[in-house]
């Protein structure tokens, strides 16, 4: 069973610090995503990425956030200056095709970010 892997599994950071969350998508997948889930709330879309550029982003994904695929295997989410409200579980996901229909989007196990 192919899997998406994420590191770290848990990170505690001070408010205002930069954080980089790393993901290794499934190797032949072409579409990459970040979602997050604040404790007790719904899973929210942040950004999708295809062909080395952002294809869609949500209102949450402001200038403090950026994504990168630096080396063709890793897919990273950077938060430049963390805020308390950034504390959440961040899920990376990838898929082979565009769109949800008949196309399984595989999620990683998540990176739990705690901002103190």
């Amino acid at each position: 069973e192919p899997e998406v892997t994420q590191t770290p599994s848990h990170q505690v950071t001070q408010m205002g610090q930069e954080v980089i969350l790393r993901c290794v998508p499934i190797s032949n997948h072409l579409y990459f995503y970040w979602y997050r889930q604040i404790l007790g709330q719904k899973v929210e879309f942040l950004v999708s990425f295809y062909n080395n550029e952002i294809s869609e982003k949500s209102e949450i994904f402001d200038d403090q956030f950026s994504v990168e695929r630096p080396d063709g295997s890793n897919f990273t989410l950077k938060i430049r200056s963390t805020k308390l409200e950034d504390s959440a579980m961040y899920f990376c996901a990838s898929s082979l095709q565009q769109g949800a229909a008949g196309n399984t989007i595989y999620f990683g196990e998540g990176s739990w970010l705690t901002v103190v």
Partner: protein, 114 residues
């Protein structure tokens, strides 16, 4: 703005009985619906989906029903097994607009009691 709502945060069911998880949506543009299952310390995993052209899709013990007029869908698990205990997320997408992001509900925690 909760476009996808799962109003029951938790549900307990006896092993062998039917589990029914409900989901409502407000965006009439949604035309593709999915259920994901999530165990603790794992990411969501795809379970079953349904297109808006259908009103039922079945896969083994799992059946999803869609009522477009009521903007309601439900996931039936029968018979329920202890291994089904997890958080179930309903998600929706607008297929006709291409790669629209999945919009998730808050999830329902199912506990199947042996």
């Amino acid at each position: 703005d909760q476009q996808v709502k799962q109003n029951s945060p938790s549900l307990s069911v006896q092993e062998g009985r039917i589990s029914i998880l409900n989901c409502d949506y407000t965006n009439s543009m949604f035309d593709y619906f999915l259920w994901y299952k999530k165990y603790p310390a794992e990411g969501p995993t795809f379970l079953i989906s349904i297109s808006s052209i259908k009103d039922k899709n079945e896969d083994g013990r799992f059946t999803v029903f869609l009522n477009k007029s009521a903007k309601h869908l439900s996931l039936h698990i029968v018979p329920s097994q202890p291994g089904d205990s997890a958080v179930y997320f309903c998600a929706a997408s607008v297929l006709s607009s291409g790669n629209t992001p999945l919009v998730f509900g808050k999830g329902t925690r199912l506990s199947v009691i042996a």
